[in-house]
Symmetry: C2
Subunit: 156 residues, 2 copies
């Protein structure tokens, strides 16, 4: 499971549209928020906190927030648009369409019967200079507690 | 590939929310519209025609229109909501979340690199008393021509 010291998997990820590749900063601090699925109720309740607190995170040295879901790029783009202020926000909605990043980050679970055979657990990872320095993994994928924007922000 | 005479696969499909099972009518005529993915540009250009022509289809004896995509039910619900008049429309947005229906209907293709390993080709099938009586399969999954609402409506 993704842990302190984990390095970032080298997987091509997109946002907004096909071929618009996501480049994680190799230096500095940013946050990856892994979520089970775009448009699911718990994930849609978790994300607004990150959109609303973008400046507060930046004030603590966070250069970017990357919400990663095992959905295709058309779905993640539509999901971003669905939030108040989502489209203008600098939060990245990242399509791990085949789950390769999630698998390599050892952050997946089998959501067969509801979402699909491979989805991302709910977690927040603070990454600094390419390595995970803090990670908050929810016990239940439907929980939005330790990986919520407030809790992660207050941990910085 | 789905063809005239094909019978409907017995696969559990949902719409709107988990456990809200889709029941295809065993009698009468309805239409299944298979699409590669919710929120993709061609699919989002194809669907409004079916929403707009719901009454015209009913006037020709069509009891229901079922848009089937290999997406989960949270995505198909959000997609329905994204269209003008979508939420009020009687068009069913059906989640074939694991592609079982699409596979059994022999209507799938590998969309790896963009959407996922299994997605639905673009087709429209007129089903009567449980059997396909007409089918319009696009040569290219990005084409919206013979399976468009206008063309299918005029074929009835």
């Amino acid at each position: 499971m993704v842990a302190v010291g984990s390095t970032l998997p080298k997987v091509t990820l997109w946002e907004n549209k096909p071929e618009e590749v996501v480049e994680f900063p190799s230096q500095g601090k940013f946050i990856i928020v892994g979520v089970p699925g775009a448009f699911t109720p718990p994930c849609s309740s978790q994300v607004p906190g990150y959109i609303a607190n973008e400046k507060q995170f930046a004030a603590k040295g966070i250069s970017g927030i990357y919400v990663v879901a095992v959905n295709d790029v058309f779905v993640t783009k539509a999901w971003k648009k669905s939030f108040d202020g989502g489209e203008q926000s600098g939060v990245h909605f990242v399509a791990d369409w085949n789950g390769e990043f999630t698998k390599a980050f050892d952050a997946g679970f089998d959501a067969s019967g509801l979402l699909g055979p491979l989805r991302s657990k709910r977690y927040a990872a603070v990454v600094e200079n390419g390595k995970v320095v803090k990670v908050f993994i929810e016990n239940e994928v439907t929980d939005v507690d330790i990986s919520s924007a407030d809790k992660v922000l207050s941990s910085l």
